[in-house]
Symmetry: C2
Subunit: 349 residues, 2 copies
Amino acid sequence: MQLAEPQDFERVLSSMCTEPHPAAREAAERFLATNPGDPGTYQSVAILEERAVDLLGEVTGHPDPEGYVASGGTEANIQAVRIARNRADTDDPNVVAPASAHFSFTKAADVLGVEYRTAPTTDHRADPEAMAELVDEDTVCVVGVGGSTEYGYVDPIPEIADLAHSVDALCHVDAAWGGFVLPFTDHAWNFQNADVDTLTIDPHKMGQAAIPAGGLLVRDRSLLDELAIRTPYLESTSQVTLTGTRSGAGVASAVAAMEALWPEGYREQYDRSMDNAEWLADQLAARGHDVVEPDLPLVAADLSVPMTEELRSRGWRVSKTGADEMRVVCMPHVTRSMLRSFVADLDWY
Amino acid sequence: MQLAEPQDFERVLSSMCTEPHPAAREAAERFLATNPGDPGTYQSVAILEERAVDLLGEVTGHPDPEGYVASGGTEANIQAVRIARNRADTDDPNVVAPASAHFSFTKAADVLGVEYRTAPTTDHRADPEAMAELVDEDTVCVVGVGGSTEYGYVDPIPEIADLAHSVDALCHVDAAWGGFVLPFTDHAWNFQNADVDTLTIDPHKMGQAAIPAGGLLVRDRSLLDELAIRTPYLESTSQVTLTGTRSGAGVASAVAAMEALWPEGYREQYDRSMDNAEWLADQLAARGHDVVEPDLPLVAADLSVPMTEELRSRGWRVSKTGADEMRVVCMPHVTRSMLRSFVADLDWY
């Protein structure tokens, strides 16, 4: 069987992943055959992982970061809930999140045997009052989202952290997608400007690293220790990750992308992506569609389902929100000329 | 920061990973920016994943295989236990395994909230009678190992499957490492020659694919359905994997390696690796060491701990068993000349 061509990104508007930065691609290719899950054997990539965590600390305002490069946001979210569950003293743990939280929390709840409670949002953002009605003495983790999957909206993280700590739960922020654009906004979302305990931030999304490069950061080392499992046979002695063997490509690629882009390259990309999102929002509004005002570079608009299907049949990869709005993620590979061509196809229909 | 050189494999005797086959490396590089976790958007890699599962079915004697390409053996083992837990009707589930099972089952037990019971081995193999004493009506999964991490030994899988089914539990086989050599041995270990329900087999170990490429296979689709989580925002509608975004590089690389090597290339590699293991075992025995007779291409021998440390200081990556024996994994990158040089260093000491 001949391997088909990989999907190119020319018409991909639905993905939260993107083409890796050239330096990130090169690093991934060089470190393809290394395993940071076995740091005693693969020492150079283990050192790179420390560097990755330090750089992620810079991005998230953590002067002394602890954490690791995960397979992606889902693993990081599962692990954050696992930390919260393991440190708590309850037989009936629950997690409280806004309804806008990513489905990985549903997965985490099934995997970890934790009850999952979601509160309705207000204008696409978490409503701390609605969440307050759901927390109790068995709540181990309260989740806030830094750039929601559906709308790219940012929750009021400081209030969510206060709510979490009022019941001795941890505050987890899922900034898997938003983490590399939020530093250039006025939002309070990270270890510096909110009382966050654990945080997901994925280099392989807006960070422009190659897949798989997610990130889990914790406020202090003791939280990570909740995850430690002894590791005989390896040259090292314990492992905190959810997976065992891991991709050195992801780790090296994350370091290369952050070295190349933090902070100025990411700032420029944020400006470009945000301009594109606002341009697209204006174009759609001018055509009579209801548009959800973009906060981060993501546009949702009330296009009919048949219209979305028609765009798909013309090769555009677009997806829908739970309310059947069409959703366009303005990733680095999404250029203005791509969007012009997309809008032209919309007009044709 | 200049990225250091990745570990080369010239002195790596401890790893169960290896240099990818050239076709596997090329495929990984081409599919670096694809995400099989979003199959609606990344369609060509989704088709490749179906091909990967079909090929894994050929390797494991399953004419109609279901499963997916996981991040590695740990994910596949966790997911197998999760399937078993979710399908069972007990509030107090337990898993029974030989003491030789990989530490990922300890991790699975913590993650999934399952009790983990291990039975002593006899001559490095699972003892079904000792395991029978541990199973009860709350046992959801009984584990057998097809190539143990410490000694490369193969458990009596048909008896373990019988034991599992005697209490309506699933039989899971961990052939993460052994799966690509076992087809060339007389062992009964797979869907064809034993009554196995779920099986872990990692292309990125003896399969010579690039990391991350693990494999989870199940006897029938209903088992996989135990893992399904709804996925709004994606073009697809549900997800059975533990992670979300996944590596297209791993999937494409697994297909390329299996297309290039199954079955003859793997058979030749098995012959070479087994010859090397037997040669090394003879060399060590001739020098007065107690050697564990290799079954698959893995040699453990009773070298003193200081001797192992000395070899490490000379650049050799070797690891130890739980009983402090030195352990050498004869992966494809481990050549006879490497082993000659290793033995020469041993003599020098």
